[in-house]
């Protein structure tokens, strides 16, 4: 890879196609996954992510659904990320389920190379972080 102005930049749509194909193959141990919401949307904007709560945490066995929205400026700008399943984390708005960029480093310090997989993997890590571990959780299967 050549640095600086010579760097090869994968345009938005081809980048999202790569992410789609990676998502379809299945990632790692399967505890995070994602897929496109509308197979007819040529711009691939709306996605659903799933995180299975980490073992040994209060989230163990729970299945969390999230909505990710990749606008036209993705991946220059991060997607908006919103939990559909209710969850209590310091970076998640209690009323809307929105992941607040100011409280979630991956979104706050977004870089073009980051992917939806990064976001989901780091949210899973958040679930076991010390500042979240003691938080009481809403009933399993409830939604924002």
């Amino acid at each position: 890879m050549v640095g600086g102005s010579g760097e090869v930049v994968v345009p938005r749509n081809f980048r999202l196609l790569e992410e789609l194909e990676r998502g379809e193959k299945g990632i790692g141990d399967g505890t995070v996954s994602y897929g496109m919401d509308d197979g007819d949307d040529i711009y691939m904007r709306s996605w659903t992510g799933t995180i299975i709560g980490p073992r040994g945490s209060i989230h163990d066995g729970r299945i969390y659904q999230l909505k990710l929205f990749c606008d036209k400026d993705y991946p220059e700008r991060p997607p908006t990320v919103r939990f559909h399943s209710r969850i209590n984390l310091t970076c998640v708005n209690h009323n809307t389920g929105m992941v607040e960029p100011k409280k979630f480093n991956i979104l706050e310090n977004w870089q073009r190379e980051y992917t939806m997989e990064h976001i989901l993997t780091h949210l899973k890590k958040e679930m076991t972080a010390s500042h979240n571990r003691k938080l009481a959780q809403p009933p399993d299967g409830s939604f924002f």
Binding site: S5, G6, V10, P11, N13, L17, I42, M44
Partner: protein, 153 residues
Amino acid sequence: MANSNLPRRIIKETQRLLSEPAPGISASPSEDNMRYFNVMVLGPTQSPYEGGVFKLELFLPEEYPMAAPKVRFLTKIYHPNIDKLGRICLDILKDKWSPALQIRTVLLSIQALLSAPNPDDPLSENIAKHWKANEVEAVETAKEWTRLYASGA
């Protein structure tokens, strides 16, 4: 200057695409990314896509020309080898790619694919089924979609 490290081969191909465009095909690089092309392909005469103007996007990955360009349709099209996201099932974009091929040959092959849909190697199962069960009707649908989505308006 952006793209100052663009390989000579890509520069040459781009110049030729602009100065001697293939009939019914135009391809021009984006201002901010010389590896990313806006492409227009006219539907070939005698095909269900005749009269249509089809928009595509093409990207030359870092490995090009050792790897094939990435291409997809942005205009909706009813064709057994093209899926809903505009992805194209064409051997030279996959295992039959050779660095002897060029952007021009790829686009000519795509244009030829519009003249010769191949429902035996489908990417869109439903469209391929339709094509095999009732070709006359499938061709009608393809013409209809061309009018609806590719009129260039």
